[in-house]
Amino acid sequence: MRRGTLLVFTMLCGASLAAQIVVDPLPNQQPPLPTGKGAVEGVVINELTHEPVRKAQVTLTFGGVTPAVTDASGRFVFRNLPPGNYQVQAQHPEFPQPMSSPPPAVMVALAEDEQKRDIVIPLSPGASVSGRVLDEDGKPLAGCFIEALYSQAGPAGKRLNSQRGVSADDRGHYRLYGLSKGHYYFFTQCQREIPGPHPFVRRGSHTDVPELIYAPAFYPGSPNLSGAARVMLNAGADLRGFDFQMRVISAVAVHGSLTGDSEALNHNLNVQLISRDASLSNILRYGGELNQQTRTFRIGRVPPGAYTLVATAQDNNLAHLAKAPVDIGTRPPEPIELALVKGAEWSGSIEIGGDPPPALENLQVRLSPLDPDFTGQWPNAKVEKDGTFSLAGVMPGRWRLTVDGLPGYVKSLSLGDQQVSPYDFNVAPGASGTLRVMVSTKTAKVDGAVSGFRPEAIAVSGFRPAVNNVWVILMPEDPARASAARVWNVNSDGHFEVGGVEPGAYRLYAVFGVEPWALQQNTQILKAFEGRGTRVDLEEDGRATAQVEIIPAEDLKRALQEDE
C-alpha cells in the first residue's frame, strides 16, 4: 500500500479519533469545542511546477474540522476557527512521502478573528523511471520484474530495500512511478524459463543439465552492485530509456536433503539461498521445491554467486536452523546435506540492584538478530518473579539482547562464564548455557534547553498535547552502543528532560524537520555534525544540564540524501 495513501487514512482516522477523545469522565459526552471567526486559507501547489494540486487532502490540527479536499485551483479554506496555533498538512496520492522527513506542513499562529489567506503548501512530485527489457537479440522480453532499490541503514549495517516494483508488459515496457526523491539502484529479475532443445526425456522429470536463465541485473547491466548505477532522482523527474539488455547465462540447481529431529522436520520447513553480500540479503533470495515427505529440496535456476543456504523449521516455540555457505559457479554443485540443529535453550536470570529491588515480573527479554541472512522468529521470554527466564530456539549467530520495561539498563551480560556485550554477542552452534543479565537502576538524567528555536514551530490541536517536530537525540560516543541512543521530544517552551539514561559518554543533538530515527540508524551522518552537538558525560545516578543549538533541517536533509 502506498505510504501516501496509508498516511492519508491514518490522518483521517487520527482526525476522527482525535475528535472523539473524551476528557469528561461521563461517557458519550464531550465538552463543546470553541469556535470563532478566524479562517485559514491557502493553496497546495506542485513544488516543481508551481501548479495547483487538485484533490489534495488538507488537514488542520483542530478537532472541529474534517479534512478539506482542494479544488482545481488547489484552494482550501477552514472557517470559524478560534485563535490558536495550528499545523496545516497536505497529502496527495500522486505525491509520495519524502524518504526521511515528515510530510510537509505549515505552522500557523492565528489571532482572534484573523483571516489568514496566503498559506502555501508545496508538495514534491514523485519521480518516474521507464524503459524496456530486451532479450539477448534485442527483442522485447515480457514478464521480468523491475525494482527501484534504496539503501537503508539498519542495526546490522546497510541493506538494499525495494521501494517499488513493477512487471514489464508483453512489449517489454515498464514504468516505475511515485518514487520519492533520493538515490536508487534499479534491478531486474526474470523468473522465467528459457526453454532449450532436448532429446526425449520423461515428462515431468528434471535434468541436471545446466539451466539457462536471464542473469539478474542492476542497471545498466551489472550482475552486482559494483557496476551498478546509483541514480539520483529529483522530485518530478521523468527518466526514460532505462533499458535492460538481459544476458543469458547458465544457472544451476542446488539440491540436497535435510536431516535432523523428525518432529521438527514436520513443522514449516523452509529452504532458501540468500546472497552472502549483506547489502543484497533482502533482494537476492531464492527458494525452491521442498518435498516434505522425503525432506529433499531443489532450488532451481540459481545464477552464479556467493550464497548462504539457510534451512529453518519453525513452529511456535520450536526453532531449528541449518546454514551452509554455498558458492555457485557454472557447474551444478554436489547435493548438500543440511543437518537441522535445534535452537538452543538458554536459561537466564536477571539481577538487579537497588533498595528495595524493583519487581522483575513481566519484564520481557528480547533477542534481535544481527546476521543479515537471518530468517525466523526472534526469541523472547517473559521474566518470572524470581528474575529467571528461559529463551527457546536461540539459533547460532550474532545477537543483541534488550529487556523491555526495565527501570534501569543492562549493565553487563555474561554468557556461561564469559562476559559479552549485550549490544553484539555471538552464540556458537550447539552452545547453550546460562545468561546472566546484570541490571542497574542507577540511571542518569539529562535536561536543558534548545536554542535557535521558533515558538511558532509548535502547534496545539484540540485536546492533544503539542505536536512538534523538534527532537533531541542523545547519541552514545561509542558506536557499538548506538542502540542505547535516546530520542526525546522538546517541550513547547524549548526545554527537554530525558530520564532513565544509561550512564556513559554521549553527544547531544537537536534536530527539526527530519525524522529522528533515520539519524539514529545512521550514526555516520550525525558524526559529521559532531561540532554542532554538545558532549555530555553521565554518571550513575548522575544529572547533567546541557544547551544545544538546532541543526538546520536543510543541512540534515542534504546529508541524508547524499547518503541514501
Binding site: 469545542l33 487538485r54 484533490k55 472541529g64 474534517t66 478539506a68 479536499v69 508488459d169 508483453d170
Partner: protein, 584 residues
C-alpha cells in the same frame, strides 16, 4: 546477402538446398539427440521381432503466425509420445521459424508448439478444442512438410478516470467472458490488469472470444472536492469513505447493458476507457428472525452477495446478527442489487433465509430475513425393466439449482430395498435431483413432485412442501448410432454431434447430448430418453452454446428430425451429409 541479385536461378536453387542442409545439420535438436546414444524408447522397440534397433525417423517443419504467415522465432516445438512412457523432445525454432527432430524411434506421436504471445497449437487440430492429429512414423521415414500455424493473442488497453476526469490508480479492469449455465447467460472473470498512476491499464494474453469489460476500484478512497470546511463545536463523527462504483464498458453499471467486445486473434484493442462515479458508501441495516429453538448465544451469519449479474469469483461481504435483537449492518457497500443469505444450524437442523435487496445511495436500506428450517422430503424410486443382478443401491442427491450458497453439504439419501427414501433437511430453494447409478443403457424416465413434472421443470422446495418425490428409472433407454460424412462422402472424424430435443421439451437441458465422432466418423449414443429429436453435426461447437435458446435457430433446416423409442435401437444408421459451420 548482397549476392542475391547477381545469382542465376540454377545457382540459387543449389544455394537454397545447401542452406537448408546447413540449417538442418546445425539444428540443435539434431545434435542434442545424437548426443544420447540410446533414446529410452528405442531400447523397448515393441514391433520388431528381431533384436535390432529400428531405423529412426526424421521430421522437420516450420512454425508460422497464422494471420501474417511470417515465421516465428524461439517457438518451442514438442514431439510427444504416450505409447509406453510419456516422453517429450523439444526443438526451438530459429529466426526462420524452422525446426527439426532426428533419431525418432518409429511410433505414434503428437506435435505441438508454444510461442510467447501466441496460443498453443496441436498439429492436426483445427482449433485448440479439437483433438490433436496422430503422426505415425515408420522406420526410416522422413517427413519435411509440417506446418504449425499459431494464433496471436490479443491485448486490450485503456484509461480509467473518475467523474472529474482524474486518473484512478490501482483500479482493476477485468475481462468477463460469457457462458451459459442452466439456460441463463452467465459471466465469469478471466483475466485483468491494474491501472498505473496515469489510470492506464493493459490486459495481455487475451484469447479470441467475446467479453464484457468491468472496471472497479474497491478500497480506493474516492475523494470529492470540498475546498471549504466550516469548523463546528462538535467534533464531526467518523466520515463514511466515498467509494468508486463499478462500471461496465461502455458507461453502464448494469451488466445487462454492457457492450460485448469481440476479440479476434492478434488484435490490439485500445481506448476501452472508463469513467468511475464516486458514491457514498451505502449503509445496509437489517434484522434476522431467528428460529424458535435457537440457543441463546448463537450468532447468525449473513452473507451479502453482490448481484449485478450471475457472476463467479465475486467478493462476498458479511455481517453477523446476534442476540438479543439479531440485527446486523454493513456500511461498506456500493449501490446495487444484493442477495442476502442467512445461515445457522440449531439442533440438527440447518436454517436458511434468503432476501433480495436493491441498495440505494443516500436512502435508508432496511431488510428483514426470516429463517426457515429445512423440510424432510419423502420419496420413492422405482425401476422399470430387467435390472439383472439386482440389489443395486441407488443414491438420490440434491444439488443447488439456484445461485444461493449452501451452508453444509447437500441432502442425499440411499433408497431402501422397497424404494423409499427420505432427503433430510432440505432448505427452501431450487434443487436439481441426481440419481446414481443409472443402469447402463438406461435413463431417468420420470420425476414428479406431487403433480409437478420435475424432470423437465425446475423443482422448487418451500417450507410448505408436503408432496412426495416419485422417481422412475428405466433400463430400456434408446440408442443411436451413425456415421458422419461430408458432401463428397468422406468420413469425418472429430465432428461434434449434437442431439437436441424437439417439440415441447426443446428447452430441457438434460435431454441434450453431445458426442465426438471417432477416427472413422462413427458415433454411438446410449441411454437416451425416448422422444422427438433433431440431430446436428458441427465441425466446431463451443461447449454449452446450445443452452442459448437462440443458438440453434439458424441451423433448424440443417438438422435431421428423428424419433427415439424405448428399448435398444440397434444400428439405426444415419448418413448425415450436412456439416454446418458454427459461428466463431
Amino acid at each position: 546477402m548482397r549476392l542475391w541479385p547477381h545469382i542465376r536461378p540454377a545457382v540459387l536453387v543449389c544455394y537454397i538446398s545447401l542452406a537448408m542442409w546447413c540449417i538442418l545439420l546445425a539444428s540443435p535438436a539434431l545434435w542434442a539427440q545424437s548426443e544420447s546414444a540410446k533414446p529410452p524408447v528405442a531400447a523397448a522397440a515393441p514391433h520388431n521381432a528381431s533384436s535390432e534397433v529400428p531405423t529412426p525417423a526424421f521430421i522437420s517443419g516450420i512454425v508460422l503466425d497464422r494471420a501474417t504467415g511470417s515465421p516465428l522465432r524461439k517457438a518451442q516445438v514438442n514431439l510427444s509420445t504416450d505409447e509406453t512412457v510419456p516422453l517429450d523432445a523439444q526443438a526451438i525454432t530459429s529466426a526462420d521459424g524452422r525446426f527439426a527432430f532426428a533419431h525418432i524411434p518409429p511410433g505414434k506421436y503428437t506435435l505441438h508448439a508454444d510461442c510467447e504471445g501466441y496460443r498453443h497449437v496441436w498439429y492436426g487440430a483445427a482449433t485448440p478444442e479439437h483433438l490433436p492429429g496422430i503422426i505415425t512414423l515408420e522406420p526410416g521415414e522422413q517427413r519435411h512438410n509440417f506446418v504449425l500455424r499459431l494464433d496471436a493473442v490479443a491485448a486490450i488497453s485503456g484509461v480509467v478516470v473518475d467523474q472529474d476526469g482524474d486518473p484512478v490508480e490501482q483500479a482493476s479492469v477485468a475481462l468477463w467472458e460469457h457462458s451459459f449455465s442452466r439456460g441463463k447467460r452467465k459471466y465469469s472473470q478471466t483475466s485483468g490488469a491494474q491501472t498505473n498512476d496515469r489510470g492506464e491499464y493493459r490486459i495481455t494474453n487475451v484469447l479470441p472470444g467475446r467479453y464484457i469489460v468491468k472496471a472497479t476500484a474497491a478500497n480506493r478512497p474516492a475523494f470529492r472536492i470540498q475546498s471549504e470546511v466550516i469548523a463546528t463545536s462538535q467534533p464531526p463523527g467518523p466520515q463514511p469513505q466515498p467509494q468508486y462504483g463499478a462500471q461496465f464498458y461502455s458507461g453502464t453499471d448494469r451488466i445487462t447493458d454492457a457492450s460485448v467486445l469481440t476479440v479476434a486473434s492478434g488484435k490490439e484493442i485500445e481506448g476501452i476507457n472508463f469513467r468511475l462515479p464516486a458514491n457514498s458508501a451505502v449503509l445496509l441495516r437489517g434484522s434476522v428472525i431467528p428460529p424458535p429453538d435457537l440457543p441463546a448465544d448463537f450468532q447468525i451469519q449473513v452473507s451479502i452477495i453482490p448481484q449485478d449479474a450471475l457472476t463467479q469469483n465475486q467478493i462476498t461481504y458479511g455481517a453477523s446478527a446476534g442476540p438479543p435483537n439479531y440485527t446486523f449492518e454493513n456500511g461498506g457497500l456500493i449501490p446495487g442489487d444484493y442477495l442476502l443469505v442467512a445461515n445457522v444450524s440449531a439442533g440438527d437442523r440447518p436454517y436458511r433465509g434468503v432476501a433480495r435487496v436493491h441498495l440505494n445511495a443516500g436512502a435508508d436500506n432496511n431488510v428483514t430475513i426470516k429463517l426457515d428450517a429445512g423440510i424432510d422430503l419423502y420419496g420413492t424410486l422405482k425401476v422399470e425393466g430387467d435390472t439383472g443382478a439386482s440389489a443395486t443401491k441407488y443414491q438420490i442427491q440434491l444439488s443447488p439449482g439456484d445461485e444461493i450458497p449452501l451452508f453444509g453439504s447437500p441432502a442425499a439419501a440411499l433408497a431402501k430395498p422397497d424404494g423409499t427414501f427420505v432427503l433430510k433437511n432440505v432448505v427452501a430453494g431450487i434443487w436439481d435431483i441426481g440419481v446414481t447409478p443409472i443402469p447402463h443403457g438406461g435413463y431417468l424416465k420420470s420425476m414428479r413432485l406431487g403433480d409437478q413434472d420435475v424432470l423437465t421443470e425446475e423443482m422448487a422446495i418451500t417450507p410448505e412442501t408436503t408432496a412426495a418425490l416419485q422417481i422412475v428409472l428405466s433400463t430400456r433407454g434408446g440408442t443411436l448410432e451413425g456415421d458422419v460424412k461430408t458432401d463428397a462422402g468422406v468420413e469425418t472424424p472429430r465432428a461434434f454431434v449434437l442431439l437436441a430435443p424437439d417439440g415441447k421439451y426443446s428447452q430441457v437441458l438434460s435431454f441434450f447430448s453431445v458426442v465426438f465422432t471417432d477416427q472413422k466418423g462413427h458415433f454411438k449414443l446410449v441411454g437416451l430418453t425416448p422422444g422427438k429429436y433433431k440431430i446436428y453435426v458441427f465441425d466446431k461447437l463451443e461447449w454449452g452454446s446450445w443452452q442459448d435458446p437462440e443458438f440453434l435457430k439458424p441451423y433448424q433446416t440443417l438438422g435431421q428430425a428423428l424419433e427415439i423409442d424405448e428399448g435398444a435401437n440397434p444400428s439405426k444408421q444415419l448418413n448425415l451429409i450436412s456439416v454446418a459451420r458454427s459461428q466463431p
